[in-house]
């Protein structure tokens, strides 16, 4: 049995990619399944999806913990979670990035394909929906399914939802990614530390599904404890502030959904980028264009 884990962000189409891969395998007469990690994630939040392929009917429904193939739809995820955890030593990886495999530190040294899926998606689909493009690189990387089956699967799944034109564009994006993928070995230096979690035994949980604010096992819990979620990692564009132009109207402060704009004593503002999701509302509401959005999630 061949097991695949997809990592992406809510809205990037990780689930659709997993489903298309499974369908491609079924087209070739094999058995396959695909399913999301059932969470409550919103657009931009890190998400997972899984796929399994086998020659026999697959009866297991558990999540995939030791994948043979890892597909990363968003390079920035490497910095915020241990995406390669459990990846088999002889496993493979496909990553959406402009870099070459040798420039990528996945945390496990494996055979790796890199592909600039975002720019391919922008070219063919006019939107940063990378799930189809990356599937072209998956075909290139592994002997799982043929390109023909994959394109058929993409046409089936995407055509049904978005129409024939969209299906053709998606299939073309996959073909381009297949051609552009770079193959090599990535680095395995990055430590794959697990996120700190409070996992109490049943008799350690305060009774009544109730918590006050406290720190347990190094984790802040209770009211206000969610501030440890550094949602700035979702960001794909970053506000740039021109203090000279600022008229201190505080509209950006009021309009920021994250509360990551802070009012200084002198009524100028600053951003706590740990939380900024890069929505761009601040730039839009600024009456004097003192804020603009620049590409990328860096500081």
């Amino acid at each position: 049995m061949y097991e695949v884990r997809f990592h992406g962000r809510g809205g990037q189409g990780a689930v659709m990619a997993a489903q298309a891969l499974a369908e491609a395998a079924v087209i070739e007469g094999r058995h396959a399944q695909a399913f999301p990690y059932f969470g409550a994630e919103r657009r931009g939040a890190p998400v997972m999806a899984f796929a399994r392929i086998d020659d026999r009917k697959i009866s297991i429904k558990s999540q995939v913990y030791e994948p043979d193939l890892l597909v990363v739809l968003d390079e920035s995820l490497l910095d915020i979670e241990p995406v390669a955890r459990g990846l088999k030593k002889d496993g493979k990886a496909v990553i959406n990035t402009r870099k070459l495999p040798t420039e990528i530190d996945l945390g496990v040294e494996v055979e790796c394909a890199t592909v600039p899926a975002t720019s391919i998606a922008m070219e063919f689909l006019k939107a940063p929906i990378v799930n189809t493009a990356i599937l072209g690189a998956v075909v290139r990387m592994c002997d799982l399914v043929s390109m023909e089956s994959m394109q058929q699967a993409i046409a089936n799944r995407f055509g049904e939802k978005f129409g024939e034109t969209a299906a053709k564009a998606n299939a073309a994006a996959a073909a381009a990614a297949h051609a552009q993928a770079a193959i090599g070995r990535c680095k395995g230096r990055r430590p794959l530390a697990q996120k700190k979690e409070w996992l109490p035994a049943w008799n350690e949980i305060p009774i009544g599904t109730t918590l006050d604010e406290r720190i347990v096992d190094g984790v802040t819990v209770g009211p206000g404890g969610a501030r440890q979620n550094l949602t700035g990692s979702w960001r794909v564009q970053t506000p740039r502030y021109d203090k000279e132009k600022c008229v201190r109207c505080q509209r950006c402060w009021f309009s920021c959904p994250e509360g990551c704009i802070k009012r200084e004593e002198d009524e100028y503002v600053r951003w706590d980028l740990n939380y900024c999701k890069g929505c761009g509302i601040c730039a839009q509401v600024c009456p004097v264009k003192a804020i603009d959005m620049i590409k990328g999630g860096s500081r």
């Binding site: 969470g39 409550a40 049943w202 949980i205 009774i207 009544g208 918590l211 006050d212 209770g222 009211p223």
Partner: protein, 391 residues
């Protein structure tokens, strides 16, 4: 102590008043209405200092009860049948939130084929909600069980809601002699309410958020243990109550002439009183018949039943509701509890939809159990008073 001649509904209302209930959300439903009407009177006459909240539905009643209990006060309410069913969603919020709400459920059949008469299919449907459930036999027990329910619910080892179940009309609208305890006695028995978890901005608490798989299982097991540990508290509260008021109910179960019995019935609710009388008749005929009164359906008295039935050759289980194609819910659970005891267990469904249960019906049940005790083949489950032959 004051002697009164009142209905069980009124007895329950008196208990809620004596318990110094602080918030009473309510919605009328027959045959529960006498309870909330009486409480409204107490409050409007200044005899009880409480907030009476007339809700828009039973769902809202239980929602208000949750809000008020989480807000840190003693809450009582009452319902019946369709009302309990409408509360279903909110019932589940209470045990896991560990809110010690006390509610009387005046048993009434749940439709379709519904009327306003007694059947236990309303409360039996909620037996896996995490609420403790006690079924009472007469008006005095309705009052006493309600008082004990507060003490039990609020015990720090328990912190669970308690549902006091009483037969619609047969108890709710029947007047009987009831000894009404004095307020000072009740105040000694039931201390002032001290909330465990509370919504108070001076000490902010997060209550009942979405619980992901990483925590839900541990929480459920914690609840499972709390229900289990309530068994010992029920016994303690029964003793405490006996010391203060001179009446004891035996805790989870009670027995009648069981010591040398060869066969017995297990009953709950008002059928118990009838069974006592039939046992006396059978004994006078020289038959070794006995009786087990099931008081608590939750926690279920697995151990106590095994101990009580050790020397019984056969036990008949009375049900006032059906689980369909398998007898009633009490029968199913008793049979499971006694799976390692060599007692033959038979099921007896009667009194459905308020059909009167006569001494003849009860005698018929005992006769079947007696046959089973002699090793004769009998039906596993019998519906008594049914027109037409059973299949």
């Amino acid at each position: 102590m004051k002697v009164m001649v009142i209905s069980a509904d009124h007895a329950v209302a008196y208990a809620a008043k004596l318990a110094r209930t602080e918030v009473v959300p309510s919605f009328p439903i027959t045959p529960q209405t006498l309870i909330v009407e009486q409480l409204a009177e107490f409050i409007n006459d200044g005899e009880l200092d409480a907030d009476f909240i007339p809700a828009d539905s039973e769902h809202s009643v239980m929602s208000m009860a949750v809000g008020a209990s989480a807000g840190g006060v003693r809450v009582f309410t009452a319902t019946s049948s369709q009302g309990l069913a409408l509360m279903h969603e909110m019932l589940y919020a209470v045990p896991q939130s560990r809110l010690p709400i006390v509610m009387a459920n005046v048993n009434r059949s749940l439709g379709a084929a519904s009327g306003i008469w007694v059947e236990y299919n309303d409360s039996m449907a909620e037996r896996d909600s995490g609420w403790l459930q006690v079924y009472v036999e007469d008006n005095q027990e309705a009052l006493d069980a309600t008082l004990m329910a507060f003490r039990l619910a609020e015990d720090r080892r328990v912190l669970l809601p308690v549902m006091v179940c009483l037969d619609g009309f047969i108890l709710s609208h029947t007047v009987e002699r009831v000894d009404l305890p004095e307020q000072e006695e009740v105040d000694r028995f039931l201390p002032k309410f001290v909330p465990y978890n509370m919504l108070d901005p001076s000490d902010p608490k997060l209550m009942n958020p979405i619980v992901p798989p990483e925590y839900a299982m541990e929480m459920r097991y914690q609840l499972d243990r709390a229900v289990e540990h309530s068994r010992e508290v029920i016994a303690e509260v029964d003793e405490l109550f006996a010391r203060e008021f001179g009446r004891s109910y035996g805790g989870l179960i009670d027995t009648y002439r069981l010591e040398d019995a060869e066969y017995a019935m297990l009953t709950l609710g008002t059928a118990t009183g009838l069974a006592r009388q039939v046992v006396d008749e059978l004994r006078s005929e020289g038959k070794k018949a006995g009786l087990i009164k099931l008081r608590f359906m939750r926690p279920f008295p697995f151990k106590e039943l095994c101990a009580a039935c050790r020397d019984l050759k056969a036990l008949g289980v009375f049900d006032r509701s059906a689980s369909f194609n398998g007898g009633g819910p009490v029968y199913t659970e008793v049979a499971a509890a006694l799976c390692n005891v060599p007692t033959t267990v038979t099921g007896h469904v009667a009194g459905i939809g308020g059909r009167d249960i006569t001494p003849e019906h009860m005698r018929e049940m005992y006769d079947i159990v007696e046959k089973a005790s002699r090793g004769e083949k009998v039906r596993p489950v019998t519906w008594h008073g049914l027109r037409g032959d059973m299949e």
